[in-house]
Symmetry: C2
Subunit: 235 residues, 2 copies
DNA sequence: TGCCCTCTGTGCGCTAGCGTCCATACGGCG
DNA sequence: CGCCGTATGGACGCTAGCGCACAGAGGGCA
């Protein structure tokens, strides 16, 4: 049996709550299995459930443009989907798509609101989480402006690696191009360069992270900064 | 004498509060005059005061990179600086510099926290404001990725125009380049194109907006989307 | 075994924006 | 009036990434 709080809940935000409140919230949650490409939220639509991924992860993309979407954030077991309810807004700000299939905990909007009213710890933890999200969005805005594709790709792979809890996951170049807002060919070039450096290996959509530290060195500092921000605020 | 709430407070967020609470907060505020280039916050530093600009405006920039800073948000009388206190974090996430000199209302961190405890309207309004900020950051991330400099420049000029409440303001190409994260020469080219189209006029740092609707057409949709988001949430 | 679909790699010309250096022009101040 | 600092404009070659079109290479399935 798992005995540390993280394993008990499977989600780091919930793991930070005092046992009593965590238990109450876990009891209210419903375990669900998220499927790849499932759409969990559309911008402007009402939020029906919040999700705490445990071994799944979710991509948030900016409202599409002529050029297609662009991923601006990734949510795994370190976060949650639907935190804007903390701000009193029950409208989803962004498009949310399941990017890595797997289990998550789900809670209805009203039940989540009730918990927010009851638990000041939940408020504290989620406030910090929203703050982290703000920081990371600002970082991403700068990243998109300045950093070369290869570095951005490395960052993205590391972020996914952290959330997938596995060194192999399935992602095609096409999909990566879509997430990073570039041509598929651009990904092919950047990815093959990373592969030449033995940092990753891939084959028909299966990507393996071979050398996380090396990949971190190849990534822009955004990755390290994001992690530092998180660790500082939610240790 | 001004008689509408906005004129009474000079800041749109405060104007949205019920008269009683607005009065109480206004009484606690200290009017200050912000000077151009004054630094109001540094990332990682403790927040000492929150600011409600009335006729001034403040630039938020992402932590600098090898390439220099990059503006990710602009705060004028439609917003405030220091809203992260609402999230329970008293550390500034970004660099804040006065971009347009002028008056603002200032409140000490503790006084602001007290008001947050007392006023649920303040919580509601600021929650929505933080939500808007989230949306706009995501939008900006995509904007930086996809949109051409001329459109981004037009967007920036319009955002400043809205906050300056004047059709002329002082900004050199050099400074614009810094804000948008590009070369000064790039700004010169984009700006002279806008001038050729009679959308703006400039001369040694004095920029005049000649044709706001025309400029809106030249800008990317981000500008219109940002405004729509704001108007939907804080009418 | 053969077929077809999906994934990856390559080549070509093109554009936006880069880095750099130099040229002009305005305007305040001595 | 002249000088100099600041603001703007232009020219150079260069690179990252674009759009497009096509070629190969697995791999699942009939």
């Amino acid at each position: 049996m798992p005995s540390n709080p993280q394993a008990l809940s499977g989600n780091r935000l919930l793991a930070l709550l005092p046992p009593r409140e965590r238990k109450r919230i876990l009891a209210a949650c419903e375990p669900v299995e998220l499927c790849f490409a499932e759409i969990l939220a559309d911008p402007g639509e009402r939020i029906r459930h919040v999700y705490f991924p445990t071994r799944s992860f979710i991509s948030l993309t900016a409202p599409p443009d002529v050029h297609g979407d662009l991923e601006v954030a990734l949510i795994g077991d370190e976060g949650m989907l639907g935190a804007s309810l903390l701000l009193g807004v029950d409208i989803s700000p962004l498009h949310a798509v399941v990017q890595g299939a797997g289990p998550a905990l789900r809670l209805g909007t009203q039940a989540f609101r009730d918990e927010l009213k009851r638990s000041s710890s939940l408020n504290r933890v989620l406030g910090r989480y929203v703050y982290i999200t703000l920081c990371q969005l600002a970082q991403t805005a700068a990243c998109n402006r300045f950093h070369l594709l290869e570095a951005r790709l490395a960052r993205w792979l590391l972020m996914t690696y952290d959330r997938a809890h596995a060194d192999t996951f399935h992602i095609t170049h096409d999909f990566l191009a879509y997430m990073l807002g570039v041509r598929r060919v651009g990904i092919t070039k950047a990815a093959s360069s990373l592969q030449l450096q033995s940092l990753i290996r891939y084959h028909r959509g299966d990507i393996t992270i071979l050398d996380p530290p090396g990949l971190t060195a190849a990534a822009c500092e955004c990755y390290a900064l994001d992690r530092a921000t998180y660790d500082r605020l939610l240790p």
